[in-house]
Point group: C2
Chain length 347, copies 2
DNA sequence: TTGTAAGCGTTATCAT
DNA sequence: ATGATAACGCTTACAA
């Protein structure tokens, strides 16, 4: 038990207590193979009885390692990143590394400044959905980087296979009978959005589906609310949203107008964040294994710190369609749905 | 611009470039009043042209300060803590401190071990909704602690005024005409739950309202789903849930059974997490200024590091009722609502 | 106002 | 297998 106010004991104290030199203590702890078994157990006992904890600063000063990892996300309030963070944190802690977390507020400038500030305090950095240009990334003040949700030449990365997820979503809708699908696009510069568009086009071409792209909209609940009317006007019988937040926004506005989902319009989201299963009806969505992503990204980072031979590697995560209740067959002509109520937003 | 691969420059390099001793460089940066103006500007120029950044480990070794703060939350996946974290992170960064974050997975044991692990690496620690006993807290391996969401004698803390929030909620329901209210309680050991119960009892006694306490339930969406039927059976015309997650769970199950909110039952949540405004109908809830809480908690912590005279202080945050659409007048006898559909969970 | 030098706690190098 | 000792980069007495 740690006594309050007592000075933390140092390696010297342990050495004295065990009757050996500090070098031996250091070895007993760090390179167990280099000391006699008997000596080591004596040292270990002394250490634990004194409650000895190595001073990280001192260690860092000489090894050049901090034992810290950093994670930068565009928005700590976005549920999509929570489980990435959770996975990252868990994996890092298992490797006895602490995790710094910072929020770039969706701004490239802020991200760059964060990068600068953290570079010296961490052994490696995980950048989630980085807003930085490939150029800026290449001249980052730290080269032990791993990217999540973005692929940039020469930087190891973990990305969800969005294109395949999109293919699954489109196929699901096709099987249900939909022939006119709209995609509610996210930020134009978003790498994920580009992947989703590619997947959409490929799948629609293959299945002979008419697709239209709406947006881009803000990748938020509010963005979805605003897009609901245009979606309805587009004539599509099903809409795939850039992400769950947008889909939930669309569903919310549709409910307020008395438009039934999925009877009148089928709705698919992306990411499978917790709220997707809490709405009425629960949202059909393309799940991304974000917690695993966080774990794997840190794994990659730790690996890179060790041998550093994973420079350009890219780990592609499988995505999977979670079918809930926001998708169904398209409305039939013989069984028309009631007229939508007047738009509550313009009243 | 930072060149890749170049060794980071040290205080020695700066001293050489400026033609002064390392001590002068150190003072120019840390105690501007102790060096000649001309000298200082020469040093500053040299430092910036070399892109000098002090080595935190070396500084820490001598000052005993790390420049880091830690935040421990019970669950990184719980939206309630996200904005606390966000506020904390922002305030810390403004004070040039980095933030470690860790997830105790709702377990006191894990929290204690995290505390142990982080104690030496941070200057201070913010514990959110700590699961530790007052005893364990008192003998923590670090005494620069601030608590959020809990009040413990001798430890500075930031807490929402839940009792008052509860009073506002009860009053709101009373004005609408409700005379039988149920409270869906959270974890028995939760400090917040105890506050809410107190507020409930006081307000109900004052207003002459019949109250009943249901639960405790798990403070999650699933907990709410499970509690929905008992709530309905309780005969109350309005229910206040331990938190928004529970309220949303109740609403979800009620919707599936065809029970209308608020026509048949009024529903109030706690916390005002983002999902509260995304449901249909949007949730009436007691808002807690969590982001401000994070900022203030860090403020308190920084203050404590400086002079250390805020030992037992407690900052009580105002709460405010956000009236949305899940509350309304109680159903009248003359206008009975339709029978609920058979329970979908048992079909 | 400035310089010199002694440490901070650890690991790593070189002896033994 | 073990010990003595020099670094690591910085702050801070103490001297000048």
């Amino acid at each position: 038990m740690t006594l309050l106010g007592a000075q933390p004991s140092t390696i010297k104290d342990v050495a004295r207590a065990a009757g050996v030199s500090v070098a031996t203590v250091s070895r007993a702890l760090g390179a167990p193979g280099m000391v006699h078994d008997a000596t080591r157990s004596r040292v270990l006992e002394a250490a634990s009885s004194l409650g000895y904890r190595p001073n990280r600063a001192a260690r860092s000063l000489i090894t050049g390692r901090t034992g810290n990892l950093g994670v930068i996300v565009p928005d700590l309030g976005n549920p999509y990143f929570h489980s990435v963070l959770k996975g990252a944190q868990a994996r890092a802690r298992a490797a006895d590394h602490a995790v710094f977390v910072a929020d770039s507020e969706e701004q490239a400038g802020e991200e760059a400044s964060l990068l600068e500030a953290m570079a010296r305090q961490v052994d490696g950095l995980l950048l989630c959905s980085s807003r930085l240009t490939a150029r800026a990334l290449a001249r980052a003040p730290i080269d032990r980087l791993v990217l999540f949700g973005r692929r940039v030449h020469g930087v190891p990365s973990v990305v969800p296979d969005s294109a395949d997820g999109m293919r699954q979503a489109v196929t699901h809708l096709h099987v249900l009978g939909h022939r006119r699908i709209a995609y509610l696009a996210g930020p134009r510069r978003s790498w994920s959005d580009q992947q989703r568009r590619k997947g959409l086009e490929a799948a629609c071409r293959e299945l002979g589906i008419v697709q239209s792209v709406l947006g881009p909209v803000s990748p938020t609940f509010a963005g979805g609310v605003e897009a609901a009317d245009p979606v309805l006007a587009s004539g599509a019988t099903a809409v795939i949203a850039y992400n769950d937040l947008v889909a939930v926004g669309v569903a919310h506005h549709l409910a307020a107008r008395g438009v039934r989902v999925p009877e009148r319009l089928s709705l698919v989201g992306f990411d499978d964040i917790p709220v997707a299963s809490m709405t009425t009806p629960p949202l059909t969505t393309v799940a991304v294994p974000t917690e695993a992503a966080g774990r794997i990204a840190i794994e990659l980072l730790l690996d890179r710190l060790g041998r550093g031979d994973t420079a350009g590697s890219c780990f592609e995560l499988p995505t999977s369609l979670v079918v809930r209740q926001s998708t169904g067959p398209p409305p039939t002509r013989s069984q028309p749905s009631p007229e939508p109520r007047p738009n509550p937003r313009s009243s």
